[in-house]
């Protein structure tokens, strides 16, 4: 495939790896924001090509991981309501709520349907006028325009049986929150390239400036990530802290303004609770007043915030980049993808799952 295979060649990867090694003089800790990047790093073994001085730590960039348990419980609640069809991305099916997950709810009789695109949820609503169809709209800025479009179209079509349970989050406020944490040890960021196709990266410039931290908008292929690391280290070694755009084939500084418009008309910025990080001001999206009738929370009751209790799971620290999954005592033993203790083990993109899939030495699960 064009625009994929050429960014996965061993020679070029080695070239970048050598270049990085050449310029690295001391330890640096970089955070890749996006779980997709974490996944690529693990799957291709990109970190193994880097000099020991460089630590890659994994950011909160998995919408599945950061969705608070309150929303999962609400989704379960809604799915259990007679006559409701709950549509969701496949990713959400096994995320544990307080007592169950959507896969178990489906096994127990709830009508839970996996969609590939939000537009399918809309089609389900059209096809089942006698049912309430609720789309569980999760995602970062990349997904928000697509999710927003369902509401926009439902409104245009007068689809009265459609609504969205919105758990959308925004990246820049989370980056700021991480940087503001006491003891923060992140020297540079690989920003999430696909988020930036929508948002552009102007918003990252004041962050880089104010926190004196290099930010490189980075793609998802091995060469993209290696170049992103190179550019970040290059800045760090020279004491610079600007925003660079490694992913220029896909990302423009202003982003996708049409997508931004639809997103801003359907959604409004709200404070949001992030797993592992607590509430972050202006870090989420909710349904805007103009589209209030499509808000599932208006139809089925508002999501109720609960205290986050994680037991022995250290996924909060993992999501903040403070600990690595394989440093968790439960990792690979009491906590596996089949019996996850934390959301970062459930999501295919979660850092714990990525470590488990690609990095664990085989330890037998404790029975």
């Amino acid at each position: 495939m064009k625009y994929r295979d050429e960014y996965r060649t061993a020679d070029a990867a080695r070239g970048y790896a050598n270049a990085i090694a050449r310029i690295t003089t001391r330890p640096w800790t970089l955070m890749e924001v996006c779980g997709g990047q974490t996944n690529a790093i693990m799957r291709f073994g990109i970190d193994q090509l880097l000099p020991k001085e460089i630590s890659l730590i994994h950011g909160p960039g998995c919408p599945v991981c950061v969705t608070p348990i309150d929303y999962i419980d609400k989704a379960l609640d809604i799915a259990g309501t007679p006559g409701v069809i709950l549509c969701t991305f496949g990713d959400m099916l096994r995320v544990p709520g307080t007592k169950s997950d959507l896969a178990a709810a489906r096994a127990g009789g709830a009508d839970v349907r996996v969609v590939y695109s939000p537009l399918e949820a809309l089609a389900v609503a059209r096809d089942h006028p006698g049912n309430e169809v609720v789309f569980f709209a999760v995602g970062f800025e990349t997904t928000a325009p697509a999710n927003a479009m369902t509401v926009y179209q439902a409104d245009r079509e007068g689809l009265v049986n459609f609504s969205v349970l919105v758990s959308q989050v925004l990246v820049p406020p989370a980056i700021c929150a991480l940087l503001d944490r006491p003891g923060n040890r992140i020297h540079g960021f690989l920003a999430a390239g696909h988020v930036c196709t929508i948002t552009g990266y102007a918003e990252y410039e004041p962050i880089a400036r104010q926190h004196r931290v290099p930010i490189v908008v980075t793609g998802f292929e091995p060469l993209d990530i290696l170049e992103g690391v190179y550019r970040c280290i290059h800045q760090l070694e020279r004491g610079e802290s600007i925003v660079e755009n490694q992913y220029s084939r896909a990302v423009r500084r202003p982003g996708n303004q049409l997508a931004q418009q639809v997103m801003e008309s359907v959604f409004q910025i709200v404070p949001r609770h992030w797993r592992g990080m607590g509430e972050i001001t202006a870090s989420g999206l909710g349904v805007s007043p103009a589209y209030q009738t499509f808000d599932a929370e208006a139809r089925f009751g508002a999501v109720i915030s609960q205290d986050e209790s994680q037991g022995e799971c250290t996924s909060g620290a993992v999501l903040r980049g403070e600990t690595r999954p394989d440093q968790c005592p439960a990792f690979g033993t009491r906590c596996t993808p089949e019996h996850p203790l934390g959301v970062t083990m459930v999501s295919e993109e979660g850092a714990c799952a990525a470590y488990y899939r690609y990095r664990r030495q085989v330890r037998r699960p404790v029975e």
């Binding site: 495939m1 994929r4 996965r8 060649t9 061993a10 990867a13 080695r14 779980g35 997709g36 693990m42 799957r43 291709f44 073994g45 990109i46 970190d47 193994q48 090509l49 998995c62 919408p63 599945v64 991305f89 496949g90 990713d91 099916l93 096994r94 896969a103 178990a104 096994a107 127990g108 996996v114 590939y116 399918e120 089609a123 995602g139 997904t143 091995p222 993808p337 089949e338 019996h339 999501s347 295919e348 993109e349 488990y356 899939r357 690609y358 990095r359 664990r360 030495q361 085989v362």
Partner: protein
């Protein structure tokens, strides 16, 4: 669906748990269910060997195996449930080092299935049986109420004469043995998924569903030192390989660059967030052979159209039982695991 009883000392974790799709995914959840429930209950050495079928100590030694087929849609590019039901069991017999001879066929039909559809399926089975030289010699037919099945389900069981003069099973695998793959992977699973899901994909992807008995018989007849054979059905290459490695008590290492995956298959996997190593096949197998026989084995395989693209993709090593690692195309290394959960399209 209301029966439940705790009196039969369910495993602690099992108490009120429900069967989920993952239990049938052919990956870890399936393996655990087999380990924790079926194998202890039936408790016999054949099941312990965890092989595709049972090699029975009968006069003339025969293999005996079964599979149920529940694919949706019933007809999909390249094949259908009927041909699958024949090839699937034929292949499992071949994987025992036996020549497939006789099949049984059990049909569960949903009330409301058009007879014309049933006929198409049966005709396809008959054709597949003729083509592969097996006879369907006994059968059964049940009808269930509408909404209690999905068109129709087929079970086939099969028996065949064992040709191999030595055991073929995971326990025979030794460190240093090479891992051969009979061709490109992922076609069946993607063909079915593209036909099933509302994914609106137009492709030339056809299931690879076929009998793999001919190349296997050829390997046996030419005296290749086969340690183990495994067809790569549900759960894909990854699940089969991990299972064999676990049973053999060995590690394994493969080269991702050497594993053939067609560009269109690879593209659909990217679109849906799937790993081709986890995608089902119905006409692919892996053969573990002694290192000295690799070249001859590949030559033999390549003489048969169903395995003309056979390749050597790696080897078994001393190491943690079941630890399979893959060298990535850029030279890094990762662990390869069984499929976990169901195969669903993902957005991230």
């Amino acid at each position: 669906m209301n029966e439940d009883s705790e009196q039969h000392c369910p495993l602690s974790s099992e108490g009120r748990e429900l069967v989920k799709m993952a239990h049938g995914g052919g990956g870890r959840a399936t393996a655990r269910l087999l380990d924790s429930l079926f194998r202890p209950a039936f408790d016999n050495p054949w099941l312990e060997r965890q092989h595709d079928g049972a090699v029975l100590d009968m006069p003339g030694a025969m293999a005996f195996t079964t599979d149920s087929f529940v694919v949706r849609p019933l007809f999909f590019p390249g094949s259908d449930i009927g041909a699958m039901a024949v090839h699937g069991t034929v292949n499992d017999i071949a994987m025992c080092g036996a020549e497939p001879q006789y099949l049984s066929a059990g049909f569960i039909l949903e009330e409301g299935l058009p007879l014309a559809t049933l006929r198409r399926v049966v005709d396809s089975m008959a054709a597949a049986a003729r083509e592969t030289g097996v006879r369907i010699v006994t059968g059964d037919l049940k009808v269930v109420e509408r909404g209690k099945a999905d068109g129709l389900y087929i079970n086939t069981a099969g028996v065949g004469r064992v040709v191999a003069n030595h055991p073929i099973e995971p326990g025979q695998v030794r460190p240093g043995d090479r891992l051969l793959l009979s061709g490109d992977i992922g076609r069946h699973g993607i063909a079915v998924m593209a036909a099933r899901e509302k994914l609106d994909l137009q492709s030339a992807i056809e299931s690879d569903c076929a009998s793999i008995a001919p190349p296997v018989m050829a390997l046996l007849n030419e005296g290749i030192a086969i340690r183990c054979l495994r067809d790569l059905t549900r759960g894909g290459l990854a699940s089969a390989l991990v299972e064999v490695a676990e049973t053999a008590g060995l590690a394994a290492r493969i080269q991702e660059a050497d594993i053939p995956v067609r560009e269109d298959i690879s593209a659909v996997c990217e679109l849906l967030g799937l790993d081709p190593l986890h995608v089902a096949n119905e006409g692919r197998f892996m053969a573990v052979v002694a290192p000295e026989d690799v070249d001859r084995a590949i030559d033999i395989l390549r003489r048969h159209s169903v395995s003309e693209a056979a390749v050597d993709i790696g080897l078994f090593l001393e190491g943690s039982a079941g630890l399979v690692t893959a060298q990535s195309v850029i030279g890094g290394s990762r662990v390869v695991d069984m499929l976990s959960g169901e195969q669903l399209p993902r957005i991230c």
